[in-house]
Symmetry: C2
Subunit: 389 residues, 2 copies
Amino acid sequence: MEFTLEKTDSVSKARAGLLETAHGEIETPAFMPVGTNATVKALSARDVWETGARMVLANAYHLYLRPGTEVIACAGGIHRFANWPGSILTDSGGYQVYSLAGLRKTTDEGVHFKSHLDGSAHMFTPEKVIDIERAIGPDIMMAFDECPPTTQEGNAVPREIVEQAVRRTVAWANRSMERFSGTNTQHGYPQSLFLIAQGGTHRDLRESCALELMAMNADGYAIGGLAVGEPNETMYEVTDWMTEVLPAEKPRYLMGVGTPTDLLESIARGVDMFDCVLPTRNARNGQLFTRDGKINIRNAKWKNDFSPIDSEMNSYASQNFSKAYLAHLFNANEILGLTLATLHNVAFYEQLVREAREKILDGSFAEWKTELIRRVNQVSTRLEAREPG
Amino acid sequence: MEFTLEKTDSVSKARAGLLETAHGEIETPAFMPVGTNATVKALSARDVWETGARMVLANAYHLYLRPGTEVIACAGGIHRFANWPGSILTDSGGYQVYSLAGLRKTTDEGVHFKSHLDGSAHMFTPEKVIDIERAIGPDIMMAFDECPPTTQEGNAVPREIVEQAVRRTVAWANRSMERFSGTNTQHGYPQSLFLIAQGGTHRDLRESCALELMAMNADGYAIGGLAVGEPNETMYEVTDWMTEVLPAEKPRYLMGVGTPTDLLESIARGVDMFDCVLPTRNARNGQLFTRDGKINIRNAKWKNDFSPIDSEMNSYASQNFSKAYLAHLFNANEILGLTLATLHNVAFYEQLVREAREKILDGSFAEWKTELIRRVNQVSTRLEAREPG
């Protein structure tokens, strides 16, 4: 993997870059649609490609449980299994295992957990996760980390918990790097390993974690443990701290983020890569992202609105089908409704980062960002004024 | 609408023809994928187009209830509403209303029924259905008929019931023709009206019904009331009677049929048009049609089968994804599984009728049909030998 920094904005910390993997080029800032189970929910590979996405995220934890690492390895790796012509990054499962409250036990060695599918017992160590990711075959592998909670029984989580998570995350990153360098790609193309910085909302822990990981000279660095319930401003602040510390010449990936506004604010703070379930999950609930804010297609007012889903978006779904038709598909529980809404939302996210990149390159990012954030949020109030939730 | 008979097979009654509507040409024999709610379930319009289908079926009863006739009329008709570039035929709802046992009351005037969606009370008359179909705007409208059951409390339905259904169907056809000729298209392109022959499994009733309808000089004729539980051989026999009587120069449409074998047997008996939910519904249950018979992708044996879904089928789904991947998608309840399976099955049906047409034109239909029926049925036994159901 190669990362080339093309330009850094003069007003903000926003960057435009180019990530090159064995499966092609990814322009940054980049948004990776989430394809947990080796499919971006409701979209075919060619649909995803058409949105402009060139890297998708899959999940090592989910794929290890189903269909099983072996199946994907036998298929010749995840690209061939899913017939995805672009690049793939796999999350390690750290966050998923952390979500299994009550079903897991963490030690310095690793995490014992029970499958959310059938309750079967498993153990993940940093080494085992590297082995799984070697077999699955993404272009970019994420190291196994400990993602601490931000709250515990309603209060801020004690600092000791976060300290322990940072200590383990660093130790596990070391073990991951060692296993990574001691093993080879299994599918004929190179793989890269990114490390994940934790530290909650403590600046000193975040910085020391990042510095320790940077000493390992990984291919890229992720900011983990955000977008887990903290206020937006806190998330932006922590991101700001991290991009002050992380090396300029390596890609920076903010995991699990976020809304269109979150993306723009984080790009302004120097983030290069994102993934989030929002465009896909919200689509399946009938919520569409538009320049004029979010709309809920289940709202009765769309029943007779024959304007395109989004006349400003150049995608098959956005231009060729009316809000009335999409509303009908949702009312009739038709699968095509889920597909068209997802196609639109993912295309919207991809156009957002593509445009951000253009604006960084032509020097107008800051003004564009301010205006777009105003529009996305202000006008949505008008559109949705009569809607609950 | 124009129908041109291009060739009739010298060995069988199979025909190759061309149907021309304001929305393009449809080569016959033709299979119309079912798009009840103005969407072929799980497929986008461009997916359906790619299979080779040029006419789809929608349902006046369903669309009248949801989203409502007015919505589709305001959209500029169903083609624009669903963004389907090809032709559309709407079933009248006769069969759907007949399926609402206990929720309907039929008189000579029409049918009082309760909506299967919300229990609201409605009445369909032949005239009202024409008005609905004028507003919805299909290229071909089906007249409202009475579809008699084949069995009643476990016994063959009494002849009087079938006689009454034929009498009403003929009377309603007359009223439909009158309303049709007294009204105009609402969306700027011509519409045609097809009449539906009933008569159960009584040859004299079938023939007299067909003759009475033929006297009305409709644009095309359908064989209704079959594929409702009678043995296959009975269905083929009734079809044979009907194609002896129906005029050669007009299209013949066998409604709601059927399996690949049913299509081939009916084409051999002179049928030009088909619709059926089998390829779409079975796909959503994981059942795929292949040249080597049906397979159920949920069967454990496909988990590690990395061969294409169907290497003999030239479609995006059939060639580009393995059985193992499709099995994984079904196991993980991923929407893409439904889409790929449907895309494959519809492409399979379209290729079947396309190939039948080629064979009719080159004079080899009879041998090809015999061999294909043998293969589809015999080999499926081998493939599915260990599977229940």
